[in-house]
């Protein structure tokens, strides 16, 4: 399992580097090298670190533990083909981790990042509607059952495209620089990350790397199905490039505009799922 975790971490950081590269090329900048995020993580790990004077020290340190722990757990659940609700539960916990990072230091900038992250809690709701849509077809939420269903009936991407779109929006809200990424807006210095420096920040990069891999992998597993390893890598890279294009070509919304938009999407999804449920599932 250790090799898988390290591979997922490395791959996720590379994907984030690719994201930066693509966005930079769209903006006619050369952009950093693809392994830039990895270099960042390594650089931060070897910097002198301490806990700020005003911080709630246990929370300040503990939240890094929680952040890394939950994403390792999420990765293990994906590897084992476990329940998709657990993965999404962990995904929602990422919100709490953001609050913890932002609020525990006592810095006003971190605080703003944390409050922003509460406001953007709407980004999770489309997720559950798409889960409901999936459950209507597969009658199970275990990843291995979903993959097995798709092996028989073809990818869910073609069966329930709106659910895939809703989950795509969810992925988008976790990408740096996307339209819904209000938590990391540039006017907030570094948002919730402001006060975590040194190896705490390196821990944050570990979280980000694992998170990127887990989320993209889950998306591919749920909506496209089982593939050989090379296939997974190729599809995830393609998905990442699509996400990067979306991020680069859309403006960032204000916090409550992003809430409104996501709520409207959720409403539309609810109507859609209601229609499926009312008409009965084919097959």
């Amino acid at each position: 399992m250790i090799p898988e975790i390290l591979a997922a971490l490395f791959f996720g950081l590379l994907l984030l580097g690719l994201h930066r590269k693509v966005v930079a090329r769209i903006q006619k900048r050369p952009g950093p090298p693809v392994w830039q995020e990895f270099l960042h993580a390594a650089k931060f790990f070897w910097k002198q670190t301490w806990v700020p004077k005003t911080a709630s020290s246990l929370m300040f340190v503990g939240i890094v533990l929680v952040g890394i722990g939950i994403w390792v757990a999420a990765l293990l659940v994906v590897i084992a083909g476990g329940n998709i609700l657990i993965i999404f539960g962990i995904y929602m916990l990422q919100k709490i981790v953001e609050h913890g990072f932002g609020l525990s230091s006592g810095s006003p900038y971190g605080k703003f990042g944390g409050v922003r992250s509460v406001i953007s809690a709407a980004s999770e709701i489309p997720l559950f509607v798409s889960v409901a849509a999936i459950a209507l077809f597969t009658h199970s939420l275990a990843l291995q059952d979903i993959v097995a269903y798709q092996a028989v009936h073809g990818p869910l991407l073609l069966i329930v495209p709106p659910a895939a779109f809703a989950m795509f929006l969810v992925l988008l809200s976790k990408m740096p620089g996307g339209p819904f990424s209000v938590v990391e807006g540039k006017e907030l210095v570094s948002g919730y990350k402001t006060e975590h420096f040194g190896f705490f920040r390196a821990g944050l990069y570990v979280c980000d790397g694992l998170k990127t891999t887990v989320l993209l992998w889950t998306f591919v597993l749920v909506f496209i199905g089982g593939l050989p390893t090379a296939g997974f890598i190729i599809v995830m890279v393609i998905l990442m490039i699509i996400l990067s294009f979306t991020c680069a070509l859309t403006p960032m919304l204000t916090p409550f505009d992003s809430v409104t938009l996501q709520t409207l999407v959720t409403g539309a999804m609810l109507v859609y799922v209601g229609c499926i449920a009312a008409m009965g599932v084919p097959g």
């Binding site: 329940n83 962990i90 709701i125 939420l141």
Partner: protein, 218 residues
């Protein structure tokens, strides 16, 4: 039956109310437990504010009395969410949810900040009125199926719960602080005392996750 949360591997019986530990409920339970331990063990941060007009800044300090009260409330909130995570009974779940709503107000009730207090007041009104759809949802589950036990409902031998009843239940939980009704909750986050205010958000997220599981199980 849709095995939404996976097969339970342990049952804990309190009379008719049976707590069950399936992979999903156990994960949520452990997370609630973890943050409750944080609340118990950690000291609050001193929130730094910039004093406008000069280059001074001040750190807000939480007094011991306020600290104890908020720690108590946040712990109660953690216990309530832990209960809500594993309970196997619809009515018991709604009780835990309303307990979470009340303790959330308690967490920020001690803060001497007019803005936060106003937000908490509005939040309190919403979570109060949310108990109406919440409990009526539970009551209608009992009326339309004859049982309240999720374990029995999951077996599929009872009549299906109408969609409108499920929406009542979900709406009641959403009123406890999920989108788009959490504007007050976000303002409550401006209160100092990081470990305690985090409990506000954690409890409503966890309870929402759980109600999704419940609505899909029924």
């Amino acid at each position: 039956m849709i095995a939404v949360g996976g097969e339970p591997f342990y049952y804990l019986e309190f009379g008719d109310i049976v707590l069950y530990f399936s992979p999903v409920t156990t994960t949520l339970f452990v997370l609630a437990l973890l943050f409750t331990l944080f609340v118990l063990a950690s000291r609050p941060e001193r929130q730094v504010d910039i004093a406008f007009g000069s280059d001074a800044y001040l750190a807000k300090v939480i007094t011991p009395g306020e600290l104890h009260f908020r720690k108590f409330m946040a712990t109660a909130c953690g216990l309530a969410s832990m209960g809500a995570m594993v309970t196997g009974d619809v009515f018991d779940f709604t009780l835990f949810a309303s307990l979470v709503g009340i303790t959330n107000i308690g967490i920020v009730a001690a803060v001497k900040n007019r803005h936060v207090q106003n937000a908490a007041y509005q939040y309190g009104l919403v979570s109060l009125s949310a108990t109406v759809p919440l409990f009526s949802g539970a009551a209608m589950v009992a009326a339309t199926t004859g049982t309240l036990s999720l374990i029995e409902l999951a077996k599929g031998t009872y009549p299906a719960v109408p969609l409108a009843v499920k929406s009542f239940l979900v709406l009641g939980i959403i009123g406890e602080g999920m989108a788009p009704f959490y504007a007050a909750k976000a303002e409550m986050f401006r209160a100092p005392g990081a470990p305690y205010v985090i409990m506000c958000s954690l409890s409503s997220l966890l309870i929402f996750l759980r109600v999704v599981e419940i609505a899909m199980t029924m």
